[in-house]
């Protein structure tokens, strides 16, 4: 098992340990490279017009992506309205109403659903909404994003409810509270910080998705007519502007990239700060 003399073994040790450290530095530095590029190119291109004006046709300089910002908020908002309560309730079942056969199955399927490529989830929303209504719509995009959000929120809710000590539940039941009252007034409030964290992370994840929106919410160069019409979104705008052959569109894509990553990172850091302040009950 330990071959060679001590000097050789020690130098192998030193070399390999430094290699792992270098790999870590490489991996982490990609984050700063990405942020650096976005701040540099995006910062130069970002101006007030970006938040207030509509995109201009190719060839004209200027314009903004106000419609895509509002469109993203609409699509993600509706997806959250569907996905958050859905995942929350399913998570409560997994954590509080344990049964030996069904819960492990739901858990496993939720994890699989979470791993399905987002573009395939987009195909589902297309068959369910776009085909029957014969129109691309923001709602179809919301359905696709909700289907991605549900397994995330379910598993996070379950995980944080499980961290609530059993003794709290027993205390409530011993005082005569019914099971659902125990869940509603003791268990869920105790796990609420963690659940909130999970929800914010889930929303941050779907807010950056573009693949499932390409053929559901589609895109729109103008103000959309509400959730039943094709709706612009920031991620799809970044894609369509980045691959177009116009310099001014590339400039807009960088600006949109900076805004999108700003929102995603702020949500992530905020969520982890909530979590860092701890679950509101001592762990058993």
């Amino acid at each position: 098992m330990m071959r060679g003399n001590l000097t050789w073994r020690k130098s192998v040790n030193a070399v390999m340990l430094s290699v792992t450290a270098i790999f870590t530095v490489l991996a982490v530095s990609t984050l700063f490279l990405i942020l650096g590029y976005l701040v540099y190119y995006g910062g130069r291109s970002l101006d007030w017009n970006f938040f207030t004006k509509l995109p201009l046709p190719p060839g004209e300089i200027g314009g903004g992506m106000a419609n895509a910002i509002v469109g993203s908020l609409e699509i993600v908002g509706v997806a959250a309205l569907i996905g958050l309560p859905f995942g929350f309730l399913a998570g409560i079942y997994l954590s509080e109403f344990e049964d030996k056969m069904f819960c492990p199955l739901v858990r496993y399927v939720a994890d699989l659903l979470n791993g399905i490529p987002s573009i395939v989830v987009g195909l589902l929303a297309w068959t369910l909404v776009v085909v029957p209504t014969r129109s691309f719509s923001g709602l179809a995009g919301s359905i696709a994003l909700a289907a991605m959000l549900i397994p995330i929120v379910t598993r996070q809710t379950e995980q944080f409810l499980r961290e609530v000590p059993l003794s709290l539940r027993e205390a409530a039941l011993a005082l005569g509270a019914s099971k659902w009252k125990t869940i509603a007034t003791v268990v869920v409030p105790a796990g609420s910080k963690g659940i909130l964290t999970g929800m914010i992370l889930g929303i941050a994840r779907i807010a950056g998705e573009s693949a499932p929106l390409l053929f559901t919410a589609f895109n729109n160069q103008f103000w959309g007519g509400g959730i039943t019409q094709p709706t612009a979104s920031l991620p799809v705008m970044i894609y369509s502007h980045a691959i177009a052959p116009y310099d001014d569109w590339h400039r807009q894509a960088w600006a949109a990239g900076l805004v999108l990553i700003g929102m995603v990172l702020i949500a992530n850091i905020a969520a982890r700060l909530v979590l860092a302040r701890g679950i509101s009950v001592p762990r058993a």
Binding site: V19, F23, V28, L112, I116, K179, Y239
Partner: protein
């Protein structure tokens, strides 16, 4: 005479609590069961909506390399090839890098540094795919075209893999972007698996005179190997299904060429590019069948990954 009244209210209260409990159970059960229903619905929709091409081409769909929407001849082979080649390339880079970093974070770095770096790695995993695509398109593609690929051509050009014209867009660039995107997943899951190895294992090895590296490489890593394999499979499933970043750099050309410099196409990329403009039942059905192929690929790989991760995290306890 108060006793019967008290008994009455307790009885009604018990009844209402029971109804409340049953209602709560059924309502939450309905939502939990719906997760399975959504997944089944997904399978059913992909299966039924791809019927035209499944009937027309049968299994030949998987092995044909023609993709011609005008004559309505469709074959999946170039897309499967592009997807598999870019994903394998990605793993060749991301597995050593990811595993090395996970070893550093789990075994060597002090807890404070390890937690901070892991937090940064998790932020990396949260960056939207289209942002990776944006950066790759404007930085990695020119770099590969002007420096990376000419260098490979001059040093390893005798291999068929590194022959032919250099574009910047192609399988190699696609694989590199995917490797950057899969590294965070491999790091965080492998790190968890390594942390789940009992402390005594390390202490025993060190007490026998092993160096730090020997204890890690010969004792801890083999102990956690299922979890590490699971992380690699998870990374592979991510890479196979990754859409936007690949679409932006792979070149979008449905050909099978030995050279890694050549433009290719992936399953996810062709769906992203062509689906919203696909006209005709057969064309749409062909793209949906590609989606079905991608779905099956990722679900099988994910299924294995989850089982492996379950097996290791149950085996050990946290440090």
């Amino acid at each position: 005479m108060a006793t019967p009244a008290v008994a009455d209210t307790t009885a009604t209260r018990r009844q209402t609590t029971q109804t409340g409990d049953i209602a709560a159970r059924l309502i939450t059960l309905a939502f939990a069961a719906s997760i399975i229903l959504i997944t089944l619905l997904l399978v059913w929709q992909l299966w039924s909506q791809s019927a035209p091409t499944r009937h027309k081409f049968g299994l030949a769909f998987l092995f044909s390399s023609t993709w011609n929407p005008v004559t309505e001849e469709f074959g999946a082979l170039p897309f499967v090839y592009g997807t598999v080649v870019t994903s394998v390339l990605a793993l060749l880079i991301s597995v050593p890098l990811g595993l090395g970093s996970a070893i550093f974070l789990a075994e060597l770095a002090p807890a404070g540094i390890s937690n901070t770096l892991t937090f940064l790695i998790e932020l990396l995993a949260a960056i939207p795919s289209v942002i990776y695509g944006l950066l790759a398109l404007f930085t990695l593609v020119p770099l590969m075209r002007d420096y990376g690929e000419p260098f490979l051509k001059s040093t390893l050009g005798f291999l068929p893999l590194f022959k032919g014209p250099v574009y910047g867009f192609g399988l190699l660039t696609g694989g590199m972007v995917l490797s950057i995107m899969t590294i965070p997943f491999i790091i965080s899951v492998s790190r968890e698996a390594l942390l789940a190895v009992p402390r005594e294992q390390r202490e025993a090895a060190l007490a026998l005179g092993a160096t730090r590296w020997e204890s890690t490489w010969q004792i801890v890593v083999p102990y956690a190997k299922l979890g590490i394999l699971g992380s690699i499979f998870l990374g592979l499933a991510r890479a196979l299904g990754e859409t936007m970043a690949v679409t932006m750099v792979i070149g979008n050309d449905p050909k099978i060429v030995a050279s890694l410099f050549a433009p290719g196409y992936s399953i996810a990329a062709v769906i992203a590019n062509e689906f919203s403009e696909a006209t005709g039942r057969v064309y749409q059905s062909a793209l949906i069948e590609l989606g079905l192929v991608l779905f099956l690929l990722t679900i099988i790989i994910n299924g294995f990954a989850r089982l492996m991760i379950l097996a290791t995290t149950k085996k050990g306890s946290k440090r």
